[in-house]
Amino acid sequence: MLHIVNKSPYERNSLESCLRLASKGSAVLLIEDGVYGATKSGNCAGMVQAAMNDVKVYVLGPDLSARGMADRVLDGVSVVDYGGFVDLVAEHSNCQSWL
């Protein structure tokens, strides 16, 4: 299953809910303001790092770059482009967007 989060984890609890309800082996893609969840040294970094034991985390590169955060992606998070976004959707049988 693919989970997509587009809200800042510093403003909403979407990412927290997503990580709580994503089962082992799921993929989590962070887009739009959700990309802040994939960045180092903030208060949310620990939560995401811990989740990466069970889920694979991806982040959309163009949204990172727009926000000036491309140089501080958490280790273990994979940066994808728009083509990679399409591939992730195609590879997974279902998808939950945590709006």
């Binding site: 587009n6 000036g68 491309a70």
Partner: protein, 133 residues
């Protein structure tokens, strides 16, 4: 904003109020940050005492190295550096908001005044008008 036409006569020592624009949203994900900045620029025409506060995800508006080429949206971050030219020089950033997001003053693209939450609270309390984005 003004109670009578006399108030607008700032050349003759008209009323100057303290306006603070409070920014609490990250850029690009929503329109708030850009709209807030537009209103601040418009406010410069009224010769008031204008300041901006950056709190919570609003601090992300000032992050260096924003590059929106692939996003297809306008990168409005250089506009914060132009505020000085409009005599808007009081940019207050809450220390706790920066720290929670792993940011330091060096990560910001413009000179700011970093205030802790108590100092920010005091600064907000002394305003005549607060406008929130």
């Amino acid at each position: 904003m003004f109670t009578s036409s006399e108030d607008m006569d700032t050349d003759e020592g008209g009323i100057v109020k303290q306006f603070m624009f409070v920014n609490r949203k990250a850029p690009y994900g929503t329109i708030y940050a850009l709209e807030g900045l537009e209103v601040v620029l418009i406010s410069a025409a009224f010769e008031q005492d204008v300041s901006m506060a950056f709190i919570d995800d609003g601090v992300f508006e000032l992050k260096k190295a924003q590059d929106t080429k692939e996003l297809g949206q306008k990168n409005f971050s250089p506009t914060y550096r132009a505020l000085e030219g409009y005599d808007i020089e009081k940019l207050y950033v809450e220390k706790e908001s920066l720290e929670a997001r792993g940011l330091t003053e060096d990560d910001l693209l413009v000179d700011v005044i970093v205030l802790d939450h108590a100092e920010m609270a005091a600064k907000m309390a002394e305003q005549d008008v607060l406008i929130s984005f």
